[in-house]
C-alpha cells in the first residue's frame, strides 16, 4: 500500500511536471511578444539580455497606430474574415441541408464528387485562379479572398453531417402548413443548427483572420493590407530595428481572436473534433 501511494504520488508529480513544462513552452512566445512590444530597439538587442524593460511604454503601439494606420488594417482583416465567414456559412449550410434532408436523382454520385474535389491541392489551382482574378480586375480587392472559398466542400460535408442528426418532423410539419423550401431552411433549419454554424463559423473566421497566402498574392496597396501582411512587411528591408513595432502589431492581431476563442473555445474544439473524427 505504501509503495502504491509513493508510486502514485511520483506519477502525479511527473504528470504535473510534464503539463507545466508544455504550458511554459506554449505561453512563452506570447509573453515574449508582449515584453518585446514594450521595449525600445536598444533594449531588444542588448547584452546582457533585458528580461523586463526598465521603462516599459506603449511607444510602439502609438507609432503603428499613426504610421501604419493599424486600426484600418484591423478593420480590413475583420471585413475579410467576417464577409468570407458569412458567405461560406450561408452556402455550406444550404448545400449541407440539401444533401442531408432531400432525396434527389444523382445525389450519391454528386456527393462523392464533392468529396473527391478535396483531393485537388491548392497548389494546382493557384496560378489559374490568380489569372482569373487578374482578368476580372479583382486584384487588390477582397473578392478573391472571399468568393472562391464561399461554397466549399469541407463546409458542405461538415453541415451535412450536422444536419443529418436533426429530425425530419419539424420540416414535414412546416411543409404541411405550406411553407416554401427556402423559408423552411431560413426560418426552421438555421435556428436549429446555430451551434454547428458557430463551430464552423469559428473555423472559417480564424482562417480568414490569420490567412497569409491569399492576401500575399492579391493585396498590393498597403492601405488594403491585413494584419498578418502588415506584420510581415515590417521586416522586409529595415531589418531588426522594427521588432518593437512588429510585436506590437502581433499583440493587436491576436487580441480579438483570443477574446473570441476564450468565449467560444468549446464550440471551436467541437467543430475541430467533428470535422476530424467523423471525416
Amino acid at each position: 500500500m505504501f509503495y502504491y501511494r509513493v508510486s502514485r504520488w511520483a506519477g502525479n508529480a511527473l504528470i504535473y511536471a510534464l503539463l507545466i513544462a508544455i504550458c511554459i513552452f506554449m505561453l512563452f512566445p506570447f509573453l515574449w511578444m508582449i515584453i518585446t512590444s514594450l521595449k525600445y530597439a536598444d533594449e531588444i538587442f542588448h547584452i546582457p539580455m533585458i528580461l523586463i524593460p526598465a521603462h516599459p511604454d506603449l511607444h510602439a503601439y502609438t507609432y503603428i497606430i499613426k504610421q501604419y494606420h493599424i486600426f484600418n488594417i484591423t478593420w480590413n482583416t475583420f471585413m475579410i474574415a467576417i464577409i468570407g465567414t458569412g458567405l461560406s456559412l450561408f452556402f455550406c449550410s444550404l448545400g449541407g441541408y440539401a444533401f442531408a434532408k432531400f432525396k434527389f436523382p444523382g445525389q450519391g454520385p454528386l456527393f462523392s464528387f464533392l468529396l473527391g474535389t478535396m483531393v485537388i491541392p491548392a497548389a494546382v489551382t493557384l496560378v489559374p485562379v490568380f489569372l482569373i482574378m487578374r482578368d476580372l480586375k479583382w486584384i487588390d480587392t477582397i473578392l478573391p479572398l472571399v468568393i472562391p472559398g464561399a461554397a466549399n466542400a469541407f463546409g458542405i460535408f461538415f453541415m451535412r453531417q450536422y444536419i443529418s442528426t436533426i429530425s425530419d418532423d419539424i420540416m414535414d410539419a412546416a411543409r404541411m402548413d405550406g411553407a416554401g423550401e427556402f423559408t423552411i431552411y431560413w426560418r426552421i433549419i438555421v435556428p436549429i443548427i446555430a451551434p454547428g454554424l458557430t463551430s464552423l463559423g469559428l473555423i472559417f473566421f480564424m482562417g480568414g483572420w490569420n490567412a497569409i497566402l491569399g492576401p500575399l498574392i492579391y493585396l498590393k496597396t498597403q492601405s488594403h493590407f491585413t494584419l498578418p501582411l502588415i506584420i510581415r512587411s515590417m521586416t522586409s528591408t529595415v531589418g531588426r530595428s522594427m521588432f518593437d513595432n512588429q510585436m506590437a502589431a502581433s499583440v493587436i492581431s491576436i487580441i480579438p481572436l483570443l477574446i473570441i476563442f476564450l468565449i467560444f473555445q468549446r464550440r471551436l474544439m467541437e467543430g475541430i473534433a467533428a470535422g476530424a473524427v467523423k471525416g
Binding site: 434527389f104 491548392a122 490568380f130
Partner: protein, 315 residues
C-alpha cells in the same frame, strides 16, 4: 412462342419509357435541393475544374503571365527531374514529417490520455493553454519565434548559455537547426489541435476497458500501450495522415520563420513554398504548373496508400 399482341407491346413500351419520364419528373420535383447545391458546383466549375485543366495546359508552355505563350512540350517536366531545389523540397516533405510527427503525435496522445483521466486538476485550463497557439496567426508566432531563437540576443540561447553553459545554437542559420526550429514552431501550433482530435477519440472508448485492465493488475503504462493505443489506432492514423499531407503543403510556417523563405540553403523549403516562389517570385507560370502537377501526383499516390490503410483499419 406466341406472338405478342400489338397493344401489349405498346403497353410494354410505355412501361419501359416510364422511368425516364419519371426521372425528369423527379428532377423537376427536386429543383430545390439542386438549387441549394448549385453554388458549390458552379464555383467548382470556374475555380476548380477550369483551373485544374488550365494548369495542366500551362504545364506544357513557357509563359511569364503576359504576351504569347510558347509551347515547349515536356520540357518543363524534364527540367523538374534536374531541379535540385524541387527534389530537395520533396525530400524535405518526408524529412520534416519524420522529424516532428512521431514526437507531436505521441505527445498529443499522452496529453489527451492525461487530461481525459480526470487525474489532474485544472483540466480545462491546461487544455485551453495547450490549444491556444492554434488560433494565433503564424505571422505573429513566426516572428516571435525568430526573436526567441535569435542566435545572439534570443532568450533561448541566453538561458541555455547561463544555466547549461551551452554555446549559442545557430537556430535559424544552420541547415539542421533550422529544420529543428521549424519543427518546434509546427509542434507549438499543431500540438493542441491534434490533442483535441485525440480527446474526441478517447471519449468514444468506454472507460471500463482501461479500468478493467487496471483491476487485472496493469500499471498505467501497460494500460496505455496495450489498451488505449490499439483502440485509438484509427484516430492516431487519421492524425498522422493529416500531418503527412500537411508536411508537403506547409507554407505559412516556412514562409515566415525561415530566412530566406525555405532557407538556409533550401533546408526547409517545401513543395508548396517552391511552387509559390516560381509562380509569384519568378513569374514562371508554366514551370510552376508543371511542379504543381508533379506534386499533385505524389500527393495522390500518398492518398491512395492512405485510403488502402484506412480501409483495412476501419473494418
Amino acid at each position: 412462342m406466341l406472338a405478342v399482341p400489338r397493344s401489349e407491346k405498346r403497353i410494354a413500351k410505355k412501361l419501359s419509357a416510364k422511368p425516364s419520364r419519371g426521372l425528369w419528373a423527379r428532377i423537376v420535383k427536386a429543383r430545390w435541393p439542386y438549387l441549394f447545391i448549385a453554388p458549390f458546383y458552379i464555383s467548382f466549375l470556374v475555380f476548380g475544374l477550369y483551373s485544374t485543366l488550365f494548369s495542366f495546359y500551362l504545364s506544357f508552355v513557357e509563359w511569364k503571365g503576359l504576351g504569347p505563350m510558347k509551347f515547349v512540350g515536356l520540357k518543363n517536366f524534364a527540367m523538374l527531374f534536374k531541379d535540385k531545389v524541387f527534389i530537395q523540397s520533396m525530400e524535405n516533405g518526408f524529412l520534416l514529417f519524420f522529424m516532428y510527427v512521431p514526437l507531436m503525435t505521441f505527445l498529443a496522445l499522452v496529453l489527451a490520455v492525461i487530461l481525459n483521466s480526470k487525474r489532474v486538476r485544472g483540466f480545462k485550463l491546461f487544455r485551453t493553454i495547450i490549444f491556444m497557439p492554434y488560433i494565433m496567426n503564424i505571422a505573429a508566432a513566426g516572428f516571435s519565434f525568430r526573436l526567441l531563437l535569435d542566435q545572439k540576443y534570443g532568450p533561448v540561447n541566453v538561458f541555455l548559455g547561463n544555466f547549461f553553459h551551452i554555446s549559442p545554437i545557430p537556430w535559424l542559420e544552420d541547415i539542421w537547426w533550422a529544420r529543428v526550429s521549424l519543427c518546434l514552431l509546427i509542434i507549438w501550433v499543431w500540438l493542441g489541435y491534434n490533442m483535441v482530435i485525440m480527446l474526441a477519440g478517447l471519449q468514444t472508448i468506454p472507460g471500463e476497458l482501461t479500468e478493467a485492465a487496471m483491476i487485472d493488475g496493469a500499471n498505467p503504462a501497460q494500460s496505455f500501450f496495450y489498451v488505449t493505443i490499439p483502440l485509438m489506432r484509427p484516430v492516431i492514423l487519421f492524425s498522422v495522415v493529416l500531418s503527412l499531407m500537411g508536411s508537403f503543403a506547409l507554407f505559412n510556417e516556412v514562409f515566415i520563420l525561415t530566412v530566406p523563405a525555405g532557407g538556409p540553403m533550401n533546408a526547409t523549403i517545401t513543395p508548396f513554398v517552391d511552387i509559390f516562389n516560381q509562380a509569384f517570385g519568378n513569374n514562371r507560370f508554366g514551370y510552376a504548373s508543371a511542379m504543381a502537377y508533379a506534386y499533385f501526383v505524389i500527393l495522390f499516390v500518398l492518398t491512395l496508400i492512405q485510403v488502402r490503410y484506412f480501409g483495412q483499419r476501419v473494418d
